[in-house]
């Protein structure tokens, strides 16, 4: 009995300590593969509000948390545009969301987003997570950070979380195109082989 009490005490202490350390860290909650993702209503660079429910014909979405100011995000700009060109017509449009606090990163302001989109000829919506309420629900921690959603009767289900591919430095040297493979599998009704990947990115600025 004493032993049990000791164990319980130890467990309480550990729980207390870990609760403390977790609270100090950045938001680590968020979606796992299989979860239903929330819709949102966020301002686009064209001044309109955009929600996933606006895309009646979509089969799903390539949600891309990205920004102007992170070198990793910039390295992927052309590839994000290429994803939209390839998959929007097949029912999987790219929806880009800029999650940073623009007071910390003025280079990610709505005006800067507009300018960058024009310069690069983005054809996808480039939204701002104005109140920084959406990215924590998804569990995005960095830019770029991708969530592929599949539209079902039960909502938009998270099917893939992570990186676009395995070479941020050189698009011509990519060996595995994680996002393309995942969307291709969804379009064919097959299982996604790699459902989650890790990549370096810039922490989202709060």
């Amino acid at each position: 009995m004493k032993k049990l009490m000791k164990l319980v005490l130890v467990a309480i202490v550990i729980a207390g300590v870990s609760a403390f350390t977790i609270s100090k860290k950045q938001v680590r909650e968020g979606y796992k593969v299989g979860d239903v993702a929330t819709d949102f209503k966020l301002p686009n660079i064209d001044g309109k509000m955009v929600s996933l429910s606006n895309f009646k014909d979509a089969k799903g979405f390539i949600i891309t948390f990205t920004c102007n100011t992170c070198p990793y995000a910039v390295a992927y700009e052309d590839r994000i545009e290429a994803l939209n060109k390839k998959y929007a017509s097949q029912g999987y449009p790219v929806i880009a969301i800029m999650p940073n606090n623009v007071e910390v990163k003025p280079g990610d302001s709505m005006d800067a987003m507009k300018a960058r989109a024009q310069e690069k000829g983005f054809t996808f919506p480039y939204l701002m997570d104005t109140n920084q309420k959406i990215y924590p629900q998804y569990g995005a921690t960095k830019t770029p950070h991708i969530y592929i959603l599949e539209k079902t009767k039960g909502g938009n289900i998270v099917k893939y979380i992570g990186a676009i591919d395995d070479n941020y430095q050189d698009a011509t040297k990519v060996k595995t195109k994680y996002v393309e493979n995942a969307v291709d599998a969804l379009l064919k009704g097959k299982d996604i082989e790699i459902k989650e990947t890790k990549a370096i990115g810039c922490s989202i600025k709060v």
Partner: protein
Amino acid sequence: MVVLLVVLFISCKGETKQGSPALERDSNVVTKELEVYDFEGLEKFLTKEDHKTYVVNFWATWCAPCVKELPYFEKLHQAYGAKQVEVVLVSLDFPNQYEKRLKPFIVEHKLQSKVVVLNDVDSNAWIPKVSAEWSGAIPATLIYNKSKRQFYEQSFNYDELKNEVDKFLK
């Protein structure tokens, strides 16, 4: 394209050389080449089993919160060197920034801690080897010694950093 890159590279080198004479007296860093590793090469800095405590910080010159916290790691390096604490700053700058940005940054900020560079594009393969907890965002820091290991995907101020390191010295 390759020619363009070569030209760019050479012109960058030229720039650094012009700037170097005035800088050479500051520290020995300038004359040294950067230590660039792939993950296999970097692993030795993450797995030492001697009597020291290692504070390994992942950063880049373009990462504002990383640059902000660098002085605290430098201060720790100064204050805790005698306590057998070693700071290793792992730069994730892109290769095309080594000459024009990273080297001048090291010199300008007179970095005294050991700086190494990680150049390994297959991050999905190596991020989990640093820590299963790491989503990949920087700044991030690993503190370890032969009996304890903890990973932090967060920014530090000096007191926070010192408090964490103290836990490893008990």
